[in-house]
Structure formats: structure tokens, C-alpha cells
Symmetry: C2
Subunit: 227 residues, 2 copies
DNA sequence: CGACTCATTGACGTAGCTCAAGGTATGTGG
DNA sequence: CCACATACCTTGAGCTACGTCAATGAGTCG
């Protein structure tokens, strides 16, 4: 049973030797580098070997909505053929140093069509994106800000890119940009969670002190069922 | 260039003869029948031959968020293997009489893995779901209710299941359930659009009188670019 | 050490919520 | 075919969560 995750990693690791057999360019990104420029069609696929990439949708009037994070062992962005208007607003940038292999989308697409296991993985990954966005559009939307934040912290603590579930490496602005709420609203709700002894807030990261109490602020659809 | 669509149809029509070669059960649904019962795992895939199915996510406390509509020539719900918590809350029901072919998910999955063109179509359809939910989670979220409604009417008029772009067959409660806003808020904004001469509102449907003026209420990410 | 960026807190306005009451199509049974 | 019930739609009143604006504090970096 799976819950939504914002951070993708290692779902393509087992294809590394397969990817090696295909034409690619080894790329090295510095913090702040983008995978492509805004407005230009997306013609490449990346297999991330190390580092973290943040992907966001930039709104016409300055808003930025963070969509997800990709780190080692995953592929991004995908390999369908349709061209969606919305893709023009999507921005992916390295938030750490990143090592990746860059494929032409056609080459990657051909590989997917030839390798059944890779093909199945692409479907699973797409399903995972669908689940995440569905969660946000259909569920998270109804919740008050405090619950949204608790849900987010809980999910990040489950699927942490660093592996340390207690430590959530997000700034308050990041949280605001993921949840599409104001950073002031984030600060005020974090103040409440702090007062309750559930978290400790720091510059650019948050420590979860009491996961049980945090869970009690979450919605049931977010929590993993007890086993 | 594609914009989001809420209504899916005919994207699998060309596979009809292929589907005929695979074991399936012909099913006939009456208005209100559900494709599966809530809470039970989804083990079937449907190829809809006629009629319309509405799919919604039922919220724990009585809310219902309409996700999309599927009509003739499309397949639903899909064929990945992961099992997501959220799937338990998804409900699909016939809103007209429906004729469909029902496949076991394993049979359908095998077919997808064997037929490259079908496989590619599944990817495209998944991409389309991603685009729709992305649109809602990342873009529509930021807009005021009037703009959300205008966007929705515009998109429904572009991709109408009936083919008549002027007539949008949605009740005000449907609109509320798609946009996750209250039906009262819908009524008030429709009153404004009515006053401006942009629409006529009826019981369970809306006529678009002035598409140009409607477009001026939409967000640029929603509109198809001029050609 | 100064110049950032990030975090905290208060004051205040407003979009959209709920509650409530009434109006108008549609369907059903006597 | 009319009476009645049942949606669906409309409009108003009042509340509140969350947004913006503003000012200050607290880490971090060149």
C-alpha cells in the first residue's frame, strides 16, 4: 500500500547497465543550473546519478509551485509524445551539485519500447505522479493549512531523500510553494506545532520531535494504515 | 499543443478489433451503477463502447471531488501494478446507460506489454491524466473562483462529450465538485457571468453565449494559443 | 562586519465558507 | 392532469481562514 511521495529516487537504479548501452552525454550541474530553459520544448531525458533536482511550475504572475524532487537513480522528466501547453511553464533546477546522464528523448523512447521491464517501470512512475497530483488536487485542497503542513511533514519524513526521517530539509518558503499557501501562513502554523512540542523549526529545516502527535494532525488518507 | 481535458473519449477506439481478440465480458450499466464498490481493490479494466462514466474521489467527510469523465472509445481506469491508498476512495459511476467490455487487469496488462502501439497509447493517456491533475494542483489552485469557473467552462466547451461546444452539461453542484468550491460560490459567479451576457444558466446545463468574453475571464495557461 | 536571505509576529482586509430562506424546473402517483 | 415532493438554483447575512502589508529578529556568507 502506497501513499503519495514528493521525492523520487532509485526507481530506475536497476536499469543503469541498460542505460550504459545507449548513447548519452554525462552532464554535471551546479546549484541553480536548470535542466532546460523555460519555454523551450523538452527534448531530453535525464538519469540522475547523484544530487537533487527540484521541479516547479512557474505561474505567470510570479508564483512558483513546487511539484517534486528527483534524486539519485531516477529518470526525469518522461517520454510521452504529446505536447502540453503547461510544459512551457515547468522548470527543473539543481539544488545540489548533480551528476546525470542525458539522453535524446527519441533514444530513450525507443529503449522504453524495446525493454519490457523498463516500460513497466515508466508506467509505474507515471502512476506515482498521477497519485501525487491526484492527492493534491482532490484531497489536500480541502484541508486547512495546518493539516496540509502536517501531511507534508509526515510524507517527507516517510520518504526523505537523506534517509533521516526526523529532519525535513525544507525552508518555510519551500513548504509554502509546495502547498500553494503563503509563507506567513506556514510560519504561523509552524508556530503552533512548535508550541505543541511536535517540531523544532530551524533555518531551512525542521526537526520532527513527536511523530505520533504529528500524525494526529494529519488526514487519514495521508497516513499509512497500521499494520 | 494540448490543454487539459476533463473528458476522455475515443483515444482507444482504434484498438477495438485488438480488444476483441482478448477474453472479456460484455457489461451493461444503468444510470447510477458503479464500476466497482468503494474500498475494494480495482481488478478490472473497462473499454467503454457507449455512454458516460463519471469518476470522483469521495472524501472522508462527505465531500466529493469529480476527477474526470470517460465516454465511448476509451479505457479505464488503467493498468499499473502499484496499489495506492487513495484508490480506495475512488468511485466511478455511470451517469448514462453504459455498454462496456470488462477485462481482468492481468489480461489487459499482458496485452499492453505485447502490443507496442497500445502500450504507447497507455503512456499518452497517463500523460494526459498527469497534465490534468497538474493543471488543477499547480495552476487552478491559485485562481479566484470566477476564473476557475470560466476556465472550466472554456475547457468543457473545447472538449465536449456531446460535440456541442455551446452547451455545457454540468449542474452547479457538478461544477462545485470539480473545482472543490461551494455550490453557492458557483451560483454567485454564474450570476455575474449571466449579468455580463456571457452565459445563460439552466437547470443542469449552461449555454455559452459569448465565447470571446468568456475567454477574457480565463487564465492564459488555460487558453489555446491563437494560431 | 555589513548584506543578504530566512523566520517571526501583528494589524487588517477579503474571498469564500456555512447557515438560512425562498424560487423554479422536473417527476410521480392519485 | 393536477397536487405534491424532490431536486436544483438563487440570494442574503454573518463568520473565519487565509491573504497582503509591514516591521523586526536571527542565521549565513563573502
Amino acid at each position: 500500500m502506497l501513499v503519495p511521495h514528493y521525492c523520487f529516487s532509485r526507481d530506475y537504479s536497476r536499469f543503469e547497465s541498460l542505460f550504459e548501452t545507449v548513447a548519452h552525454r554525462k552532464v554535471r550541474l551546479k546549484v541553480g543550473d536548470r535542466l532546460w530553459n523555460i519555454g523551450e520544448p523538452i527534448r531530453k531525458v535525464y538519469f540522475i546519478r547523484s544530487g537533487i533536482v527540484k521541479t516547479a511550475l512557474e505561474h505567470e504572475d510570479g508564483f512558483s509551485k513546487i511539484l517534486f524532487y528527483h534524486s539519485d537513480g531516477t529518470c526525469f522528466p518522461g517520454c510521452h509524445n504529446s505536447y502540453y501547453q503547461l510544459e512551457n511553464s515547468i522548470v527543473s533546477e539543481a539544488i545540489t551539485g548533480v551528476d546525470a546522464w542525458e539522453f535524446d528523448i527519441e533514444d530513450f523512447y525507443n529503449l522504453v519500447m524495446e525493454d519490457r521491464e523498463l516500460n513497466a517501470q515508466v508506467l509505474e512512475t507515471y502512476a506515482s505522479y498521477i497519485n501525487l497530483f491526484l492527492y493534491q488536487a482532490a484531497h489536500q485542497d480541502y484541508n486547512p493549512a495546518l493539516m496540509k503542513i502536517a501531511n507534508l511533514l509526515y510524507l517527507f519524513s516517510l520518504y526523505s531523500p537523506t534517509g533521516d526521517g526526523e529532519r525535513v530539509n525544507l525552508s518555510q518558503q519551500d513548504i509554502a510553494d509546495i502547498l500553494a499557501i503563503s509563507h506567513i501562513n506556514v510560519a504561523k502554523n509552524l508556530a503552533y506545532l512548535r508550541k505543541e512540542g511536535i517540531i523544532e523549526s530551524h533555518r531551512k529545516w525542521i526537526r520532527i520531535l513527536d511523530l505520533d502527535k504529528l500524525e494526529s494532525c494529519c488526514s487519514v488518507e495521508t497516513l499509512l494504515p497500521d499494520v
